[in-house]
Amino acid sequence: MSPADYEGPILEIERLSISFFTRLREIPAVMDFSCTVQPGEAMGLVGESGCGKSTVALAVMRYLGKNGRITGGSIRFKGRDLVNMSDEELRHIRGSEIAMIYQEPMASLNPAMRIGDQLAEVPMIHAGVSREEALRRAREVVSDVRLPDPDRMLRSYPHQLSGGQQQRIVIAMALMSKPSLLILDEPTTALDVTVEAAVVDLVKDLREKYGTSILFISHNLGLVMDVCDRLCVMYSGEAVETGSIKDVFDRMQHPYTQALFRSIPLPGADKNARPLISIPGNFPLPHERPNGCNFGPRCSYFEAGRCDAADVPMFAVDGHDRHETRCIRFREIDWAAPPKVARTTEKAVPGRVVLKMEDLKKYYEVAANSLFGKSGAKKVVKANETLSFEAREGETLAIVGESGCGKSTFAKVLMGLETATSGRIMLYDRDIQSTPIEKRSTDTVSGVQMVFQNPFDTLNPSMTVGRQIIRALEIFGEGKTDEDRRNRMLELLDLVKLPRQFADRMPRQLSGGQKQRVGIARAFAGGAKVVVADEPVSALDVSVQAAVTDLLMEIQRKNKTTLLFISHDLSIVRYLSDRVMVMYLGHVVELGTTDQVFSPPYHPYTEALLSAVPIADTHVQKKRIVLEGDIPSAMNPPPGCPFQTRCRWKSKVPGNLCETEVPPMRQLAEGHQIKCHLPDSELARMEPVIKIAAE
């Protein structure tokens, strides 16, 4: 049978086991993994980091590095055995019949080659066509991935394109040879949400156009729901549940899947009435997996003697479409039972105003040409443009925006790492806008602290955890003696629910979530009044996110701290914040209570942002709004309204007001402000983006 007229499944993986061999031991990365991808089907692989989902993808490409090895099972691509295929045959298949798209677009492109040449290489190598023909095809594919001005794109180098454009080029490259299977490994993680939405949209359209089968790897359940027909949930090297999207999302049959869904903020979750339920414990290390069910120790349905007796096989769920689960007790568990609500808390009442910003501006001067700076004209980057808001005691104010919106600059000015160009920042009754951090009093410094985004970067890797917290105490002048400070440090560890033994551990011995807890303990060392949390959970796994978010909320309630929560993830913002501030290119475009911002009328940008956030709930109906193009550079902002280049409502504004004038901040309702030219009649016609379908 020739490969061309093959009609079975595109990819069949059966009982695949993969191990990595290190000096000390063999580390099993994937065990007993089976899945089938039919022609034209999109299969999602979901799981937390370290669960082996990328390893499966790499095994399909037979690219496991020198210490990875397939130790059992088979992978068949169009009926051909990939495991025992020779290197020569593999070279033929890779890139032509199976193509892979990685997370970092910049790392997948050769920075020294023009886009056109890189794209043309694919058919020149695999199909042996002439250069002219290859370039012609490249131009076709580039317009297929909806890039503007394909000829210019083909002539440019990768660094001249934005992240979203680069990822589109990588997708174009994968499509050049019309592969039968496309593997996408977290293709949008490095991109902003609105760009992510556009890329996902593109992948879906291309799949229809080319009929390619897709293996889509992601940790984001919402994205998988958007893209795939079927999914496979992985935990600690095993597939725990596999089935169609509808079955797995609505009629899940594995405790891990259920726990995963309960730990992500879906519309309707509320920090006071319906808090998230985090999964207790930690992900087991590959060489410390428990006997029997890997999820056993963290499972609320665990039954000793049965769940930990022997390895659990996959069971087919009767009456569902190819739905399998790796749970012994799946027939006994009442899946419809509502979760036990641990505790509900009173909604905190915001107190007096702690932090007040008035017309804050931060401009940077950038020499156009640094080497000959004198002759070149100076450019002004307006990182923050007239920021005004106030935050009260015990309140959570979310600052939402994508990269380049000025939220980091704002944080820097607030912390005193930069001074404001003009405007005022009032902390209680003190002006701090022009006091750099060296000149601030210890009180002010310890009163405004920050929790950082990247858990792997937030702690000094060569200092023990305890030492780092004690250092913060020393600097903030807490405690009289070393003894005092050590005790205070242990109390702080208690506060963030870490065992006291962690004081003597090095950061590398901690998991991401634990590191983030230490970061929180450090921020609260001096009794911080205002804490800026810069995407504190976005780099953590879903199951850990809920726990860390909860912890932050709890400490906030206890200390009546004002929390400035910077995030681009609107689901979590909706879950935990009292008020929301939406920023775009240095401007605050919308400010209001959470309910006001999340329901119409919206600012057009808020509307697009809401639509872009993937929501892992089959009952939610979303209006699809895909923003064209990328976020303009802050170096070169558009004239008039900053959002006018991508706004879909622009035509509703009379004249060329949007292009010429920055809109004023308008009061829509008590405490709801919006920066838009749209007349009231148009705003009133806006429909909600997210609708929850009746059950």
Binding site: I437, T442, D457, P461, S462, M463, F476
Partner: protein
């Protein structure tokens, strides 16, 4: 007693090195036994390359320590009958052999090679360490503050790097220049850096505990300052600060010159490495965290950035000792700095080169010694780099 053949020469040499073998065996046995609890040093024993390199380096370190036991003859005594005699020749008195033959003045090549290791092992690591202190103390602020300071410092580093090294050495040892005290003044500045470094290191961390800080800084200034004065002050020269009675550390003028020049040409390279690593590390969140809790710049540089730059710096340190060793050899070869009768490897190679066609052994053995030490250092650096990347 008769002349002996190659086989017994080899046997006797191996026997002479007995104390070195014992120490090597003990070091390896202990290190391998406890390698899991020894950090990066312990990990070295997982890499064959690293172990070979470490063994070669430690061989010469122990040889330097036990040079008096290993050497068979006095390094300066000449026996005229032994001029250019081949390896294994018996001395006229008939009591012993010149294991690796005699040189052009009838001195024992083996003993000179063994004792010569002392000079290298003493100067090379110490000079490299000073170069690192200087490079780190300048490189950290250059990268951390950036701007004009960085531009000026980098320009100066480039200036030194661009100047021909050999010419620089010739200039430094010219008697007229030595008489002006220039090398000593340079030493005055360069030797100040370790003290500065330590004081800033302690102060930046402990300024929050003033009593403790005062005691430690005071000790450093007193002890370090005394060593510093003793080191730089030389009676009857341009710099004679300390009275003779107190000047317990006397460094021969020519050694000082060699030392100063080696530090001087090495520190700009270290500066660039430190600057590069710092530029990377200073963007990390833990540096921002330190800034937002109001830490002072030097604390951030020395306690937040430097410890995390240690991996590449340790590797470079090993490599740089190797370069310094070669540099010392070069200096000796050109007859710069050290006295002509000094047994260091560079000088011996230079002395042997004139009769290379007649008697190659006086030049070849020190050359082999030099090569094995540098090779060992390079392998050690490779091993460390390899192991520090693994987890």
């Amino acid at each position: 007693m008769d002349d002996i053949g190659w086989l017994s020469v080899t046997g006797r040499i191996l026997w002479q090195f007995l104390p070195v073998w014992i120490c090597l065996a003990v070091t390896f046995a202990v290190s391998i036994r406890y390698k899991r609890s020894l950090g990066l040093y312990g990990k070295l024993f997982d890499s064959t390359i690293g172990m070979i390199g470490f063994a070669m380096v430690m061989f010469w370190v122990f040889t330097a320590v036990f040079a008096d036991m290993v050497a068979t003859h006095d390094v300066l005594s000449q026996i005229s009958q032994m001029k250019n005699k081949p390896p294994g020749t018996v001395v006229p008195a008939g009591t012993s052999h010149y294991l690796l033959g005699g040189d052009h003045l009838g001195r024992d090549v083996f003993s000179r090679m063994v004792v010569g290791s002392r000079i290298v092992i003493q100067i090379a690591p110490l000079a490299t360490m000073f170069a690192f202190m200087v490079g780190i103390t300048i490189g950290l602020p250059a990268a951390y503050y950036g701007g004009t300071l960085d531009t000026v410092l980098s320009f100066m580093a480039n200036l030194i790097l661009a100047f021909p090294v050999i010419l620089l050495f010739y200039l430094l040892v010219t008697p007229e220049i030595v008489a002006t005290g220039l090398p000593q003044y340079m030493g005055l500045v360069l030797f100040l850096f370790p003290i500065l470094f330590l004081v800033v290191l302690v102060n930046s961390r402990y300024y929050v505990k003033p009593q403790f800080r005062n005691v430690v800084v005071g000790l450093i200034v007193l002890v370090g300052g005394f060593f510093y004065l003793a080191l730089v002050s030389e009676p009857e020269s341009a710099v004679a600060i300390l009275p003779r009675r107190l000047d317990f550390l006397s460094v021969p003028g020519n050694i000082l010159i060699v030392f100063v020049s080696v530090v001087f040409v090495n520190s700009p390279t270290v500066f660039r490495i430190v600057r590069g690593i710092t530029l990377d590390i200073k963007t990390r969140d833990y540096v921002s965290a330190a800034q937002t809790r109001g830490e002072r710049p030097w604390y951030i540089m020395l306690w937040e950035i430097l410890p995390n730059a240690r991996g590449p710096l340790i590797v470079d340190f090993c490599l740089r000792i190797g370069y310094t060793t070669i540099l010392l050899g070069t200096l000796g070869f050109f007859g710069l700095g050290l006295s002509p009768e000094s047994p260091d490897w560079g000088s011996t190679i230079n002395a042997g080169r004139k009769l290379l066609t007649v008697a190659p052994h006086p030049a070849i053995f020190p050359a082999l010694a030099l090569m094995s030490l540098v090779l060992g250092l390079n392998l050690l650096a490779d091993g460390l780099r390899e192991e520090s990347l693994k987890d």
